[in-house]
């Protein structure tokens, strides 16, 4: 695989744009012009690169409702009251499944009931013009956040609509977000998206791309999410993407989380260089704990704060913020702003403190590097140095395997569990291509926990760990 041929790409575009009537509004030349006349302040990558240079951590919420006027109000509020540095537009689940008819129905019901019946903003249904209304109504740059296996039309419409950052990837928006969509297909869909971004790039328009780091958000060992982020980086770079934000979902053990963020950029740059992409800029994204939250809001604030601490100390370029309503449902705007303000206070208080490179931190980093190397080498071997082919074959073979993923294209043998300090380890390796050293490390760590809890290392630990943070702990210790 190389960069998609321009002619072929342009031909495919015509088909994609027919997916829904609003596709016809997209005129890419006009869109490029629109972007070129945009205020520099409204371009995500400008803010990200500045933050990276100044070693700041920016804060960004998740937010999206069915009706545009409400959506704008919501985002304004999150900027003004919540002090958000970057804003999102989270897309609803019907749109994510290309079910635009259901989305239309959701819009109607929302209009009738006067409250959002969709869990996000249905950008495709609204089209380019409405997207631009949103962009223009807000003083900070906006990103599209979703979870769409086939986001070609969504990308066409939102990028033409003035968004300067687009989340997702052929793996990261399939495996955790779909059941029966083939990986081959989604990688192709996302090569299209990347090619579209690359096309804008060729024309001098800088769009940032962000693979979805946290995957299923639940006890994902860093080497798994890092490997997938790296493969998606290579796939994106191949299509001409120059700006990448790579994400990682907090696991809760500070040292492991810091090690993860620090190695994420380092490893991504390493492999990008190795495969000949010298001019790609990498920034990092830290997601506050993505698994089950405590119901109690005061406890949720603690989880949010702890995520902010790890984001700040690991010096992630931005942090995606949870809210005190997380366990209950889509947050009110007040709850959303609350999560932001808590995060802002922590990030501000910690930005000058730094963290030292300690023995334990070094060890975590060493292990992540080792594991990623073993995975990526095998992926590239299976794919004959083509990351797309490598990814498809590796998922088939269980060389790549995401815990708790709904996709039938995921083998699903890997099981994670926390060790005695709360770091996430492998309980079951499935078919991951790890050598003895790696396995001995994880086995030892879990054995340690077994001893300290006086029980067998096993599946009950996984269950207990899934519930743990929601129940006020980090490690799912046996009760009583």
């Amino acid at each position: 695989m190389a960069m998609i041929d321009k002619e072929k790409f342009l031909a495919e575009r015509q088909k994609v744009l027919q997916g829904w009537p609003t596709g016809q509004e997209v005129d890419i030349k006009e869109a490029i012009n629109y972007h070129k006349n945009m205020d520099q302040e409204k371009i995500v990558i400008n803010k990200l690169l500045q933050a990276r240079a100044e070693r700041l951590t920016l804060i960004q919420p998740r937010a999206g409702v069915a009706l545009p006027a409400e959506h704008i109000k919501l985002l304004k509020y999150l900027y003004e009251e919540g002090e958000a540095d970057l804003l999102p537009t989270t897309i609803d689940s019907y749109t994510r499944q290309n079910q635009y008819r259901e989305a239309e129905q959701g819009i109607k019901e929302s209009e009738e009931l006067g409250r959002s019946m969709l869990n996000g903003f249905p950008a495709v249904n609204y089209g380019v013009k409405v997207c631009r209304q949103i962009i223009e109504a807000l003083p900070v740059p906006l990103q599209v956040r979703h979870g769409t296996p086939d986001a070609r039309l969504l990308a066409e419409i939102t990028l033409a609509g003035g968004f300067t950052d687009f989340e997702g990837g052929g793996i990261s928006y399939n495996i955790p977000y779909a059941k029966k969509v083939s990986l081959e297909a989604t990688i192709k869909y996302w090569q299209y998206v990347d090619r579209l971004v690359g096309y804008y790039q060729e024309e001098g328009v800088r769009i940032n791309r962000e693979p979805f780091g946290p995957l299923t958000g639940t006890l994902v060992p860093p080497s798994i999410s890092h490997s997938i982020a790296i493969i998606e980086s290579l796939l994106a770079a191949e299509q001409g993407v120059k700006y990448l934000s790579l994400g990682y979902g907090q696991n809760g053990n500070l040292i492991q989380d810091v090690a993860a963020v620090q190695t994420l950029r380092e490893l991504a740059e390493h492999y990008l260089h190795k495969y000949g992409y010298e001019d790609v800029e990498v920034t990092t994204v830290f997601h506050q704990w993505m698994g089950g939250f405590p119901q109690d809001e005061s406890k949720a604030y603690a989880v949010i704060s702890w995520g902010a601490v790890a984001a700040a100390l690991s010096n992630a370029t931005k942090v995606i913020v949870k809210t005190p309503h997380e366990a209950m449902g889509i947050p009110t705007r007040e709850a959303n702003a609350s999560g932001l303000k808590t995060t802002k206070q922590i990030v501000n208080m910690l930005c000058d403190q730094g963290i030292e490179q300690t023995t334990r931190l070094d060890l975590e980093k060493k292990m992540i590097r080792l594991e990623v190397k073993q995975i990526i080498e095998k992926v590239m071997e299976l794919g004959d140095d083509d990351p797309a082919l490598g990814a498809v074959r590796s998922f088939e073979a269980g060389i790549l395997d995401v815990p708790f993923a709904p996709s039938s294209y995921n083998v699903g043998k890997v099981l994670p569990a926390r060790d005695d300090r709360g770091a996430v380890r492998f309980l079951n390796y499935g078919d991951l291509p790890f050598d003895r050293e790696v396995k001995a490390f994880h086995d030892d760590k879990l054995a340690e926990r077994g001893v300290s809890e006086d029980r067998d290392v096993g599946f009950q630990m996984v269950i207990d760990d899934i519930y743990a943070i929601g129940k006020g702990m980090l490690i799912g210790r046996p009760r009583g």
């Binding site: 969709l118 977000y177 309503h325 209950m328 993923a405 709904p406």
Partner: protein, 145 residues
């Protein structure tokens, strides 16, 4: 006496898989027969699985916020399919946003669900209810735990 059979799944375009795994595990641990149709299941998937297995109950999960739209009409579909009296439970984050639980419960009862559960419900709670409901209906006297 047959084992109680439960059809389990996550409805609509919803991909939240973790709770579904745990529910399956807990139901099995409790000695029930579980048909897990997994995430992204349509109303028809639920009906078909229930028809095929002669299930006693359908457990619908909805996490992602579209539960109100997705779950509507399932009871009517059951009636059409001739399994109108099957036990229907729903749980997860059934509506969008943090709303008063009594309101949501009423909503789902109105839609023909026998029981609905708020976020954070532990499987054990619902398994005990299931035992009671089945006992009440009198067709089985099995006790799951």
């Amino acid at each position: 006496m047959d084992k109680t059979t439960v059809v389990l799944g996550v409805i609509g375009a919803d991909v939240h898989a973790v709770g579904n795994r745990i529910l399956e595990y807990s139901l099995k641990q409790a000695g029930l027969n579980v048909i897990n149709i997994g995430v992204m299941s349509s109303q028809n998937d639920f009906i078909n699985a229930a028809l095929e297995t002669g299930a006693d109950a359908i457990w619908v999960s909805s996490l992602y916020g579209h539960g109100e739209m997705d779950c509507r009409g399932l009871r009517e579909k059951c009636l059409e399919a001739g399994i109108g009296d099957i036990l229907l439970y729903a749980g997860g984050n059934l509506v969008i946003g943090k709303r008063d639980w009594p309101y949501v419960e009423e909503l789902f009862r109105g839609m023909g669900y026998d029981r609905a559960y708020p976020p954070g419900t532990l499987p054990e709670t619902a398994i005990i209810d299931l035992e009671k409901d089945i006992y009440k209906k009198g067709d089985k006297n099995w006790r799951p735990c």
